[in-house]
Structure formats: C-alpha cells, structure tokens
Amino acid sequence: MSGRRTVYEIYWEILVYCKTPRTFTAIINRCDLNSKTGQEYLGFLTGKEYLTATTDEGRTRYVSTPPAAEYIALFSSLYQNLFDERPGFRL
C-alpha cells in the first residue's frame, strides 16, 4: 500500500499485517516503507508493546499483541464510520 498515509494508518497496517508473525523484510515490503522508517515504526510499536519480537531459527519475527486489538478496532470503526454519514458521493 502506498500513497500519502498518516503515521496512524501505517501503524494500523503494520499491526494488522503482523496478526501472524512476520519478518522485518516482509513488513517493510508489504507496508511500502524503507528500512530506516520501518525500524522507527517497529521500534515505536514494540516500545508500546503492541508488537513483540520473537526469534526463531535465527530469524526475528514480529507479531501483534492483544493490546493492539484495541487500536485496530478503534481505527477500523473510525474509518468505516466515514461512510455512514452524508454527504457521500453519488451520481
């Protein structure tokens, strides 16, 4: 996913993608980030305990923690509610 995203949208993408364990490379590829910003985002989410890093066979994988579910749910409801209210676009 690319385009002009806010940090909150990027956090949401990472957390949803990491519902199953993912490597750093897979995350930055999927979320269209460079290594530097990828490290920053993962560092932030790990620091807030929304992500945990596990090392398996020498590879570090990141997975969302239960507290991340609160953020994911709030984010989804905010974005989906945008389509409940008028004015919407129709022909």
Binding site: M1, K48, F83, F89
Partner: protein
C-alpha cells in the same frame, strides 16, 4: 461483518464505481478534444478549411483547435493519472468479492484515503480544465460551421454552414455539457472526500490517546 461495516462497504463500492465512471467519461472528453484539434489542424494544412468566411476566422479556428488539442492532452494526461490508481483499487474490490473481511474493507478505505491525498491537486486541475476543454470543442464546432459572419455597430449576425448537420452541432454541445457534468461530479467527490479527510484529522486525537501519545 456487522451492519455498520456492511453499510460502509456498500457505500464505498458505490462511490468507487461512480467515480470510475466519471473518470472514464473525462478520458473520453479529453480524447475527443485531442481528435477535434488534430482533425482541424490537418484539414487546415491540407487546405480543406477554405470554405470558412474569412482568413481571420481561419486563424481564430486554428488557434481554438490548438488550444483544444492542448487542453485535451492536459485533461487526458491528468485524468489518466487519476484513473490508473483508481482502477487498481477498483480491481482489488472486485477481486475480493462478497466474502471480504472487516480488515480488508478498512485496508481498501485507507488505500483510497491515501490515494485521494495524492490526487487532490490533480482533481482540482481536472475540475477547472475539463469544462474549458468541452467549451473549446463546442466553440470549434460552431466556428468551423460558420458560413457568414457580420459585425456591425448594433451587434453581430452569423449563418451556420448548411452542410454542417444539426447532429454534429448537438454532439459538440453534448460534449460541452458532459464536461460540465463531469466537473460537477468531480467537485462533489472532492467535497465528500475533503470532509472525510477533515474527519480523519479530527479523530486522530482518539488514536493518539490509544497509542499513549496524547501527552506529547
């Protein structure tokens, strides 16, 4: 998927489909303007425009044809830029089908939001240039159809070429009207999305709070 999610998906799909339709219409308008401009320029080079009332009118028609061509290229180029990204999102919606998950719906909404931020300026250009392009096609149609034009101190009168069918004139008018409608719908789309972007910005406080960033 609960009712709110279902409603969001239905509305989102509908908007993307409608916006895609308006964008396609604008592509056609751009292509027609390019074609009209080129046809007149080629006809002028081949000397097929000698039927026009005066050399001055031929110069004016030539200038309008070139403007028409330029605006057509501009509309086609900018609209194509909008269309490509939109098509990608529309394809994803179609590919996912009815068994779409809640996260996937939000993901597509986020994609469209990010994409709208990217195309916002392009949309502004199309809203302005589109009707101008349609107007040029219409004026070119009128000017090339003129058989006689007289300007007096009390006003002006003109006669349309009898060979130019009413159908052709109606067609250029239809293109002009279509460009106006497409510009109107682009404006409606931009207004709806600007409103949503403003709402997203307003709701960032709640996200900040959840992330524990409200004190920063």
């Amino acid at each position: 998927m609960n009712n709110v999610e279902k409603q969001a998906l239905i509305q989102f799909k509908k908007e993307i489909r409608h916006f895609s339709l308006v964008t396609s219409t604008n592509l056609i308008i751009g292509a027609i303007a390019i074609a009209a401009g080129i046809v007149y320029i080629i006809a002028a080079i081949l000397g097929l425009t000698a039927y026009l009332v005066s050399p001055e009118l031929r110069v004016i028609a030539g200038a309008i044809a070139m403007v028409c061509f330029g605006l057509g290229v501009s509309v086609l180029h900018v609209t194509l830029g909008i269309f490509r990204g939109l098509r990608a999102i529309k394809d994803k919606i179609d590919r996912d089908g009815p068994a779409i998950t809640d996260d996937r719906v939000t993901c597509l909404i986020v994609q469209m939001t990010a994409y709208y931020r990217e195309i916002r300026k392009k949309l502004g250009t199309v809203i302005l240039v589109g009707p101008l392009c349609g107007f040029c096609v219409f004026v070119l149609g009128i000017v090339t159809g003129l058989e006689a034009l007289s300007l007096t101190s009390s006003g002006f009168s003109f006669t349309l070429n009898s060979q130019v069918t009413l159908f052709a004139q109606c067609l250029t008018l239809a293109i002009a009207m279509l460009s106006l409608f497409s510009s109107y719908y682009f404006t409606k789309f931009a207004m709806a999305w600007n409103h949503r972007i403003a709402e997203i910005e307003a709701s960032e406080c709640a996200l900040k709070k959840t992330l524990g960033l409200d004190d920063q």
